[in-house]
């Protein structure tokens, strides 16, 4: 199957202008850094609207990062049968994230899917919670995403910028950010 690399179609979805963007991932696990990479791209242009959570499996760190924000966009790597680089899009405020895209990879940790459900149980979900999933291929140790994932990162970053920040003036382009794992992204981490 050919990866779906065009922007996800959001027909019928009402989007506000402006949202809080959260990139999630482990910068030292290759394609797992996809969400962080998207957020790093956007942070350079819209620094007041983006946070990067490295290894953000601590539920309170993630949940408190969207408290008080009516519309939130989260980007994370996914791990299903889809080809690498496939872009998924989910409305997590309306229904749980699918287990086949966000499988439980730990006996004790809470991943994004479980954190969302914990927040739902605690009535701490934002009113709108959109989740982009970028299908990964390689989650081994490494600080560089695979080629199809890098292409998807560019597409998702461009799409979020166009859909949520079109009326904002971007900060002029500066030298590209250092590779993840070396730049000073906000840390919100712990492994549970």
């Amino acid at each position: 199957m050919k990866p779906r690399t065009e922007a996800p179609f959001l027909k019928g979805v009402r989007l506000s202008r402006g949202a809080w963007v959260i990139g999630i991932g482990n910068p030292c696990r290759s394609d797992d850094a996809a969400g962080l990479e998207v957020a790093a791209h956007l942070k350079a242009a819209y620094p007041d609207c983006v946070s990067c959570l490295e290894n953000a499996a601590d539920p309170e760190t993630l949940i408190s990062s969207w408290v008080g924000r009516p519309e939130v966009v989260v980007i994370d790597a996914t791990w299903s049968d889809a080809p690498p680089g496939t872009i998924h899009f989910f409305d997590a405020a309306r229904r749980p994230l699918p287990a086949e895209h966000f499988p439980c990879t730990s006996t004790h940790a809470l991943g994004l899917r479980q954190c969302v459900e914990l927040a739902r149980a605690l009535y701490r979900l934002p009113r709108h919670l959109w989740v982009y999933g970028i299908e990964g291929r390689n989650f081994a140790l490494g600080i560089r995403c695979s080629a199809p994932v890098r292409r998807a990162i560019d597409i998702v970053a461009a799409e979020i910028g166009a859909r949520w920040f079109a009326d904002r003036e971007a900060v002029p382009a500066s030298p590209p950010p250092a590779p993840l794992g070396r730049h000073s992204a906000e840390r919100g981490a712990d492994p549970i």
């Binding site: 601590d58 760190t61 006996t107 004790h108 809470l110 914990l118 149980a121 712990d190 492994p191």
Partner: protein, 434 residues
Amino acid sequence: MKPTSKRSLRVAYLARVEGEGALDIQVKDGRVTEAQLRIFEPPRFFEAFLRGRAYHEAPDITARICGICPVAYQMSAVHAVEDAFGVSIPEPLRLLRRLIYCGEWIESHALHVYMLHAPDFLGFDDAIQMAAVHPDHVQRGLGLKKIGNELVALLGGREIHPINVKVGGFYRAPTPAELRALTDRLKWARDAALATVAFVAGFDFPSFEQDYEFVALRHPEEYPFNEGRLTSSKGLDIPVREFNRHFEEDHVAHSTALHARIAERGAYFVGPLARYALNYDRLGPSAQEAARAAGLDTVCRNPFKSIIVRSVEMVYACEEALRIIACYEMPAQPAVAIEPVAASGYACTEAPRGILYHRYRLDARGIIRDLRIVPPTSQNQATIEADLRALVTARLDLPDDRLTRLSEQVIRNYDPCISCSVHFLRLNVERSSS
């Protein structure tokens, strides 16, 4: 249920524990013939990684053994290396080490109490189910865990695998103002920990007590984190450097983690119940009062009640953190100078799950030539299996599903950190030639 049949209780993948393990119990003719905590997570070879490395790499490399208790690995590593080099650190740095350990205990205990253990007692499969019925309690647990993480992040540079701990002290010491900024949050945490004790004390606990040999550090004045002699409830009282003379490790076929035993007597028990039993008089007044109000005596031999003791220890850790912050004076230097010498060093510190032993043999350049690490979970394995055997023997009348669930709970009583327990490398090579 008739006790004459053959029964097998199996859990292929234990949930709500750190790492990968399984449970296997065999019952034949009303007798438990096998009770195994099978640890199948692959060995991780950390002792091999460290051979040939410089002494200053030990805290950062061993911290990678565990994402839940990296501070414990760092503390045991720096104390053992400093023991080898004959280094002593000034009081402000000693207190900062206690403070970072407070953070780790708070976050680790909050995780286990609320996310991993409480669902057992309340009949839920996980904390998400529990949150739907007890949102305020789960929210309190999340808040406690977060303040523990914040404390570790402030002192360690980040929450997991901190990078600010070094042999001789810290790379950077926090300012008093940075620490004082946490005071109000820690006061909230202390109250939340007290509420936690009251909450978990109301659970129904199976009637189950064993004659354990508790082993923990004992300090002349303080509830132990980093210092003290190794003591036990059956008379052991030794300096840490004599650990090897009294404790043995064996390989068993069903576990990639070594089983530890006291040479003279066998299985023993480390962790909150052991610390509490051997150091009750070192807890502060409010932690003692909370324990009494929860119905605990000065010694608790029911491992199911470890959830209460963990909560009491959270009260202590919050109060100790507040005490240290209140009296903190910034050290003149964040670390003392280190001069390597050829020597061996030993240390035990109290990880959230129990004593964590490190031994290093270093050469004159400070290169690690040999080392040994004995984590708490491998020390508790034999006791966990003895608990399983005793509990199943006493509850054979229960149907399989309830007995299996209760057996899983027995394992979770110990908050096992399976990933920690399988760090070892013991390789025997037999060579022959034709």
